[in-house]
């Protein structure tokens, strides 16, 4: 039986990326605990999995290169080589190269960089005194067809008088064992050991002797007498894989990847691995939906008024199932935020080393799930914030000691669910923001007026302002080429918000609030003129009818309403969307109060028509970007409605209010 392994390549690449992540994070841990046996085992298994998978999926260059890293890890696991900063560094470099190779389709292992690393890995292995000479039966040079064998004997096999070791010896006599992996993780401590109960298993990679042939059937025959109650998998690889031939060699399978096939392109297609259980649930729900549909159809076809109750009941059931189906389908898109967090330990380590900072990064809540789209687009802004924190938030060790702080700075990156949102916080214990300097800079740039009375928090928020130059505050706040306004824009593009808290001398905390998903939104539908708009529910504080005493017009600030002592700017959506209406006073009209990053605004509307859950359709991809609009949706009655962008509306409102007021003032139309 031949198996087209190419169809699983994408899965392997995703798994390999996870293993590389494991390698990276575990290596960083290993620096702190170089003799941690569990960690070393984890590292070895990750490397071994990459090697095995690469060999199976026709990436011999990757397999061969990984083998060298794996050998060093194995020696470290056995205590023959001790993990040092140098060996960890070397293995991290090997991890980087592996990542590059996998992104590039598994080739490019023959470059000078790979040769250098292989030589260094071998030197580390020999230098550490590890030397397990390959016995005659275990040779390194593969040739011919290879067969993967997974064998876990029955627990009581020894009681039958058959020792599995004799089977392995026989396997070594019918072919050449290229690789042997013993899984002895289940062997208990002496106190609990029953030596007659088998608790080990094996994976072998076996090939035919030179000039000979070996079939999976021959291998199975070896285990014939042990196969009862045993786990035995025997799979042949694709023909003629010669790792020595390098990446330029294609496999015999036309579907299999070659050096010229960029795996990155495959990866870019994007895929999500879904637990079988989740798929089963979907299948069940779809099944129920089909039954619902059939019931409704039946009732409608032979409809009589006395069946109305049944029809209503059937439609209600259909609605329930549809909503559940929708929730579960959305659940499939949820992935752990740890896939983004995983890159930061390495980044912080390298950045700290290059900047002379000592930083202890703590990750919390990596399992918190977010929509895949959000997670992918979160990486850039978060990277920017983490880099900034190390670069400019946390002081040098000397400065920290002088300030009475521990030499090692603390950086905590946490993720947690809160209501319908995910909260991500990045907190450092550095010197915090310099409020006076930010204010001075904002003043110099005309972002604030000289007499503007701003709270400390409001001044801190100025660092997110577009045009807030980083040039003069390089040493205190940012210093990167890209400003924090870009971070804010990226987060807002995810329908999220970012806020900052900072205490001088104690540190800074960036708090990002993100929606769980970008695809579906709970909204409030509003009528303005003849048009229906949808406002995201999360931005709404309350709605009210304006009483006469609440309404004011202030020169230079436009229309305001007074809400429990707070003056809130009023924005007539009719003006924003150029809807022709007769002039009217807002008194007695409906106003919806929205908020974004502490800024509130009242939106004047004609009517609230409902609270729908809507599917967001991109306006930009089908038309163009429109200020104050984040997308469109199709309502239950088939009409198209625009979904309002609250941050954009608040910005627009401030400008529009000022313009209208100024124009009216000029015309003496204020009354």
């Amino acid at each position: 039986m031949s198996v087209d392994v190419a169809q699983f390549l994408q899965v392997f690449l995703e798994e390999a990326a996870e293993h590389l992540g494991t390698l990276e994070t575990s290596l960083l841990e290993l620096e702190r605990t170089p003799r941690d046996a569990e960690l070393l085992g984890k590292l070895f298994r990750a490397a071994h999995s990459i090697k095995g998978g690469a060999a199976t999926f026709g990436l011999p260059a990757v397999a061969r290169f990984t083998h060298h890293a794996e050998s060093l890890l194995d020696a470290m696991r056995e205590g023959a080589v001790v993990a040092t900063a140098e060996t960890v560094d070397l293995l991290l470099q090997a991890t980087d190269l592996l990542r590059t190779m996998l992104v590039g389709g598994g080739g490019d292992a023959e470059g000078p960089r790979a040769d250098q690393l292989v030589a260094a890995l071998q030197a580390a292995l020999v230098g550490g005194g590890a030397a397990v000479p390959a016995p005659a039966a275990v040779v390194a040079a593969p040739a011919g067809r290879r067969i993967h064998v997974h064998f876990v004997p029955a627990r009581d096999i020894l009681q039958s008088g058959l020792d599995p070791l004799t089977l392995i010896r026989e396997l070594a006599s019918v072919g050449v064992l290229e690789d042997v992996e013993l899984d002895a993780t289940r062997v208990p401590d002496l106190a609990e050991l029953d030596p007659c109960a088998v608790t080990v298993g094996w994976r072998f990679l076996v090939r035919a002797d030179d000039g000979g042939s070996l079939t999976p059937e021959q291998v199975r025959e070896v285990f014939e007498f042990a196969s009862m109650d045993a786990e035995l998998d025997v799979e042949a690889e694709a023909e003629a894989q010669d790792p020595g031939a390098g990446a330029a060699h294609a496999t015999s399978d036309p579907q299999a990847p070659t050096a010229g096939t960029p795996a990155a392109a495959r990866a870019a297609d994007g895929s999500i691995r879904v637990a079988v259980g989740k798929v089963d649930e979907l299948v069940n729900l779809v099944g129920e939906l089909v039954i619902n549909q059939s019931m409704v159809g039946e009732l409608v076809r032979g409809f009589r008024i006395e069946k109305l109750g049944q029809l209503i009941e059937a439609v209600a059931a259909m609605e329930r199932n549809t909503r559940e189906l929708q929730e579960r389908v959305m659940g499939i898109r949820m992935v752990p935020v740890g896939s983004v967090f995983q890159r930061f330990p390495r980044m912080v380590r390298d950045l700290g080393a290059s900047l002379g900072r000592k930083v202890d990064l703590v990750l919390i809540g990596e399992d918190t799930e977010l929509d895949k789209g959000v997670v992918e687009r979160l990486a850039d802004p978060l990277t920017h914030l983490v880099r900034n924190a190390v670069d400019h938030g946390i002081e040098s060790p000397a400065a920290r000691v002088a300030a009475g702080k521990p030499e090692v700075g603390s950086l905590r990156l946490t993720a947690a669910h809160q209501g319908g949102h995910v909260i991500i916080e990045l907190r450092d214990d550095g010197h915090g923001l310099d409020t006076a300097r930010i204010r001075a800079k904002a003043l110099a740039q005309g972002l604030i007026g000289p007499h503007e009375d701003l709270s400390e928090a409001a001044i801190h928020n100025l660092i997110f302002a577009a045009g807030f130059s980083t040039a003069a505050v390089v040493t205190d706040i940012s210093g990167r080429g890209v400003g924090l306004d870009v971070v804010r824009r990226n987060i807002e593009a995810l329908e999220g918000t970012v806020a900052i808290e900072s205490v001088a001398g104690q540190g800074t905390c960036f708090r990002i609030v993100l929606p769980l998903t970008l695809a579906i939104l709970d909204g409030l539908s509003l009528r303005v003129g003849e048009q229906i708009y949808v406002l995201p529910l999360t931005s709404i504080i309350e709605s009210l009818r304006v009483r006469p005493e609440q309404y004011r017009r202030v020169l230079g600030r436009g229309e305001l309403i007074d809400l429990r002592g707070e003056s809130i700017p009023l924005l007539r959506l009719h003006h924003v969307f150029s809807i022709d209406v007769e002039a009217f006073s807002p008194v007695g009209r409906l106003v919806v109060i929205v908020e974004h990053q502490g800024a509130k605004m009242g939106l004047l509307v004609d009517e609230i028509t409902g609270q729908p859950q809507v599917v967001i359709k991109s306006l930009e991809s089908n038309y163009r970007r429109v200020d104050g609009v984040m997308g469109a949706t199709i309502l239950g009655d088939g009409h198209v409605a625009l979904i309002l962008d609250v941050p954009g509306l608040i910005r627009t409102g401030h400008d529009l209010g000022k313009r209208i007021t100024a124009a009216r003032a000029q015309q003496g139309a204020l009354s």
Binding site: V132, I168, C196
Partner: protein, 149 residues
Amino acid sequence: MQDGRCRSGRFLGICGGRDRGRTRAPIAAEPTFVPADPSIEVHIDDARVRLVLAGSLGTRTCETLLEAAREVAGTGRDVEVVCADTEFLGLAALQVLLSLRRTCGRTGRAVRLSGVRPAVVEMLAITGFADGLGLTSIEAPLPTTRSGT
């Protein structure tokens, strides 16, 4: 073992303590291998703790080996497993040695195999146990170091 007398295992004599004698009793070896005189001895002196294995050690001897392993593990010291006269180690015996290594490793103690014969090394290598038992080099067969015979 602390009273200065030898005690017998189920099949084999196990001796402990300084300059204590040992008793040996033949048992049936594994059917596929040439029977050899299997023996398991524990030697504990001021200098070291040694578990000396000889002959073919298979399923039938594993309980005794387990008992001996528990004893050497209980000393709280590093252990040398002398295999110079070991002709075969079956899976049951290897599980005991692996478990011994793991148990000792948890308290920072080492278990080292010495004098392993090339044939046994090869067997350990093709079965993956060489790694698991920390066999970092193939040592030349050593002369018998049993004492107290």
